[in-house]
């Protein structure tokens, strides 16, 4: 009897269970890789993170920010009114892994970039209750005290390049980036000058208020300030993105 053969052969049963439960996942996920409208056309507005922003993102992940903050504004009226335009797939196309999250203990951060000043971000990360008395967010005082380790930035960018993020190593890749993003942005994405790019952005923008020192705060604030700011939604009519679903 076949029933008995399967139930008494754990190796075979394991294999068959894997086949059955993967059908649902395959049907839902695989088509997204070849359906044209999966990622919206935003005319190259979304670029990969600069080296400094990338380090900030790594710190965001290291500190577990994603456990309490999502980065995904859903197309609902209340979210639209509170956070702004719903998130696009295009906006996280270079995120590996994406930070959409599924739990909001704190507010969504998908469009937090530019909403507050750098100084507010620094103070809020240091001591959240000094600006938002009812906040339950922990203090992150070490960000401002720890020098940013950027020695391995080349390795981090190369790893992402391997997953398909258009950071450039060769001249051909650089030229392609110039064509897609323009020269100024292509320079930011060039792995060969990654360290200089990182140092320049940290010094020019003074994210943590102290140009003399480059701290983890610089990187994290640089990352937070770019979130959700790349697509200029005034360029598109309201129905444009609905056509991609």
């Amino acid at each position: 009897m076949r029933h008995e053969q399967i139930e008494t052969n754990s190796g075979l049963m394991l294999l068959l269970i894997l086949v059955v439960i993967s059908i649902g996942g395959l049907v839902e996920i695989v088509p997204l890789f070849y359906i044209n409208e999966t990622v919206e056309d935003v005319k190259g507005a979304v670029r990969p993170y600069t080296p400094l922003e990338l380090r900030g993102r790594d710190i965001y992940i290291r500190e577990g920010c994603y456990l309490c903050h999502s980065q995904q504004i859903r197309p609902f009226r209340d979210e639209w009114l509170r956070y702004g335009h719903y998130s696009l797939a295009a906006e996280s196309q270079y995120d590996h892994p994406f930070q959409w999250g599924s739990k909001r203990t704190g507010p969504d951060l998908a469009r937090v970039g530019g909403k507050y000043s750098n100084q507010w971000q620094v103070q809020h990360l240091n001591a959240p209750r000094s600006v938002v008395p009812q906040s339950i967010m922990p203090n992150y005082p070490w960000l401002l005290q720890t020098d940013l380790d950027y020695s391995d930035i080349v390795g981090r960018m190369r790893a992402l390049r391997w997953t398909g993020v258009p950071y450039s190593v060769t001249q051909a890749e650089y030229d392609r980036n110039v064509k897609t993003f323009g020269k100024a942005t292509a320079d930011l994405l060039d792995i060969n000058q990654a360290q200089d790019t990182l140092l320049k952005q940290a010094r020019d923008r003074e994210f943590d208020g102290n140009p003399a020192r480059i701290t983890e705060m610089d990187a994290l604030v640089a990352y937070l300030q770019v979130l959700g700011t790349m697509v200029d939604f005034t360029q598109y009519d309201e129905g444009y993105f609905a056509r991609f679903r």
Partner: protein
């Protein structure tokens, strides 16, 4: 398993077993499923097939089965407000949101009032009690989402960091128009650092003079020396703060003659010496890149900004 939990039909042999037996005597019944359960199950199967045809479902080649369900939404030209198209969009949550926002069927009052806010000037809104009631209720939510993180839930601000919006003292002007301008473009506070220009005792003298402006200190020899620096070329403080020290809204300089302190927390210091030290220390450092009000023009709609400007204006009683 105790005897009383055994199936009542077991003894009669009416229920069949699956035919397996484990460990010699373990067997498994094949009781039929309850009818009501079975019909619910068939019902869900039929429901799912109907669902495929109404909502987006199966992937098909480069696209997918979009379903026969549609959403009506209108697209209006942003600049002119002219209706461009109205169409049946295959059902999806983004179109559904547009329909919701466009028709606002669940909130016609809100839409009507927003249209009134859009049409009126801030001065007209302030004079209309009905619109003001709306501004207070909606403005509270907008303020909480966008402004409260810095300025506090009630607009009280944080001394030294974020201006108090309730005290009717305005760095950049307190008319509704000026507040609207501040919201649209943002502001960047700036004061040069005098630490390299003035010697410590000169800083001290300037601090003493500044305190006399708001009657925190009595005029003295030191304050006279400070006055010469403040009003003269060496300090040049009057460029921005005005010869009378009342501040100039177009450059966002503080009024030094009132008892309201936006940056240096003078009221918290007990002795004159401490007050002077606080001010001298601040004048030495100045303000650069630390007092920045973000621009909201790309984040909020013009109507929302106007509404917020009126809301902030009324927080302080209005100037």
């Amino acid at each position: 398993m105790s005897d009383n939990m055994q199936h009542p039909q077991q003894k009669t042999g009416a229920v069949q077993t699956t035919g397996h037996s484990w460990d010699g005597d373990l067997q498994e019944y094949t009781n039929p499923l309850p009818r009501w359960w079975l019909w619910c199950f068939y019902g869900t199967v039929i429901f799912s097939i109907l669902y495929w045809f109404v909502y987006p479902s199966w992937p098909m080649g480069k696209g997918w089965l979009k379903g026969y369900g549609t959403v009506d939404y209108t697209i209006t030209d942003k600049a002119s407000g002219k209706l461009l198209e109205k169409k049946d969009q295959p059902w999806n949550t983004r179109a559904l949101l547009l329909e919701d926002l466009g028709q606002a069927a669940n909130d016609p009052k809100r839409k009507e009032m927003l249209a009134k806010v859009q049409a009126a000037t801030p001065e007209q809104i302030v004079k209309d009690p009905q619109i003001m009631e709306f501004v207070r209720s909606v403005g509270k939510g907008l303020f909480g989402d966008n402004c409260a993180a810095c300025h506090g839930q009630g607009g009280q601000g944080v001394v030294g960091l974020y201006p108090n919006l309730t005290d009717n003292d305005w760095l950049w002007g307190g008319s509704t128009d000026k507040i609207q301008e501040t919201l649209v473009l943002g502001r960047k506070g700036f004061m040069p650092a005098f630490g390299a220009v003035l010697k410590p005792d000169q800083l001290d003298d300037v601090a003493e003079y500044v305190l006399t402006l708001s009657s925190e200190a009595k005029p003295s020899e030191a304050s006279e020396r400070g006055k010469a620096i403040f009003q003269g070329q060496i300090g040049g403080c009057y460029y921005c703060h005005g010869a009378d020290g009342k501040g100039i809204a177009s450059v966002g300089s503080a009024n030094l003659t009132d008892k309201i302190w936006a940056i240096v927390n003078v009221p918290a210091q007990k002795t004159l010496q401490d007050k002077k030290a606080q001010i001298a220390g601040f004048v030495a450092k100045g303000v650069n890149n630390t007092r920045i009000m973000p621009a909201w023009q790309n984040r909020l709609s013009p109507t929302d900004i106007k509404l917020l400007a009126v809301y902030v204006h009324q927080l302080s009683g209005g100037k």
